[in-house]
Symmetry: C2
Subunit: 182 residues, 2 copies
C-alpha cells in the first residue's frame, strides 16, 4: 500500500471539487448570461435544495441575486471547450449564448433561459442567502427539472483545477448492499 | 439533438451529487466512527474551506459537532463495497474500523484518525456552524492534507442514488483555453 504524503491544503479542491461542472444561466433586465460553476452541493431532496458558491466577481452573481433566479444546466463531455471558454470570458462584455453558439430554451417557472445543448436544465429560485455575504454561498430551490431521456449515463465533466477536466467512467451497481434509503 | 423531458425535482441529486463520495472519520470520548458522505462542496481555497451536509440522524453528527473535528477521506473504486457497507450500518452499534477491516491512521492536527486505505486524508476543524440548525450544513477548514503520490488519477466513486456509483473516466486537458486563474 502506497503511503500518503503531505499535500497543500489550498489545493484540496483537486480531489473534492469533482462534482459535475455546471453552466448557470441567468436573466436580468433584458440581458442573458452564462457562467461555469464547479462548487455546489445537494442539500435536501424535498424541497429540492442546491447550495452554490458563486464568486461575487462574476457578472452573473448580481444578475442572480437581483432576479432571485437561475437555471443550472448540465453540460456533457462534447462541450468541454465551451465550458472552459465560458469560464474564461466576462459576461459584461458579450452575449455568451451567441458567442458560444448556444441555444436559449424557454423555462417553465423562471425567466432565465435554459441551454438546449445541455443534458439537463434545473430551474431554480433563490431560497436562502444567509451565507451570501460571508461565503458567496446561495441556496436555491429547484422548482422545475428537465432531462434528456438518453443517453441514460452521459459523460459529464469534473473539474480538477489547472485547466483539466475528468470525465465519467463505468457505472457500478452495488444496490444489493443497500438496506437504508438510497 | 434529443429534447429534454420533465424530471422529478427531488431526484436532481442523480445528476448533481456526483462529487466524489468521501468517508468522514471522527473521534469523541474514546470512540471512533466512520460515515459515508456525498453532499459536500469546496467553498474557498485559503483558508481551505469545505461545506458538508451531514444528516443529523448519523451517529457521527454529534461526535463531529462535539469534538469540532473530523477527517475527510477519499476512497477509491476498489473500496466500493466498503463505502456502501459503511453507509448502510450504524456506528452506535459497532466499531466500523474493525467491522470493515480499515486501518486507523494517526492524524497530525486533529484527534480523529484518518483511514490508511483511502487515497487522501484531509484533517478538518469545524469553522462555521451558522447553517447547522437549518440544513445540517457544517463548514470545515482543512488544516492538514495528505495524499498518496500515486496513482496520479485514482478512480474515485460518484454516487448517483439507488445503490449505483459511477467511477472516474478519462482525463481531458483543456488548459490552453484558460486565461483566468484556474
Amino acid at each position: 500500500m502506497v503511503n500518503k504524503v503531505e499535500y497543500p491544503v489550498d489545493q484540496v479542491r483537486h480531489w473534492l471539487e469533482p462534482g459535475p461542472v455546471v453552466l448557470l444561466s441567468s436573466h436580468w433586465q433584458g440581458e442573458h448570461n452564462i457562467m461555469t460553476l464547479g462548487w455546489h452541493t445537494i442539500l435536501a431532496f424535498s424541497p429540492s435544495l442546491v447550495g452554490c458558491m458563486i464568486d461575487a466577481g462574476n457578472h452573473s452573481y448580481e444578475m442572480i441575486r437581483q432576479s432571485g433566479e437561475c437555471v443550472i444546466n448540465l453540460p456533457t463531455v462534447d462541450m468541454a471547450e465551451t465550458v472552459a471558454g465560458i469560464g474564461n470570458c466576462d459576461g459584461d462584455d458579450l452575449d455568451k449564448f451567441s458567442r458560444f453558439n448556444l441555444t436559449p430554451e424557454a423555462s417553465q417557472r423562471v425567466a432565465a433561459p435554459g441551454i438546449a445543448e445541455c443534458h439537463a436544465s434545473f430551474e431554480c429560485r433563490l431560497h436562502d442567502d444567509a451565507l451570501a455575504s460571508r461565503y458567496n454561498f446561495l441556496i436555491f430551490e429547484v422548482v422545475h427539472a428537465r432531462v434528456k431521456p438518453e443517453p441514460a449515463w452521459p459523460q459529464t465533466l469534473h473539474y480538477a483545477g489547472e485547466g483539466v477536466f475528468r470525465t465519467d467512467g463505468e457505472v457500478l451497481d452495488v444496490s444489493h448492499l443497500f438496506t437504508k434509503v438510497s
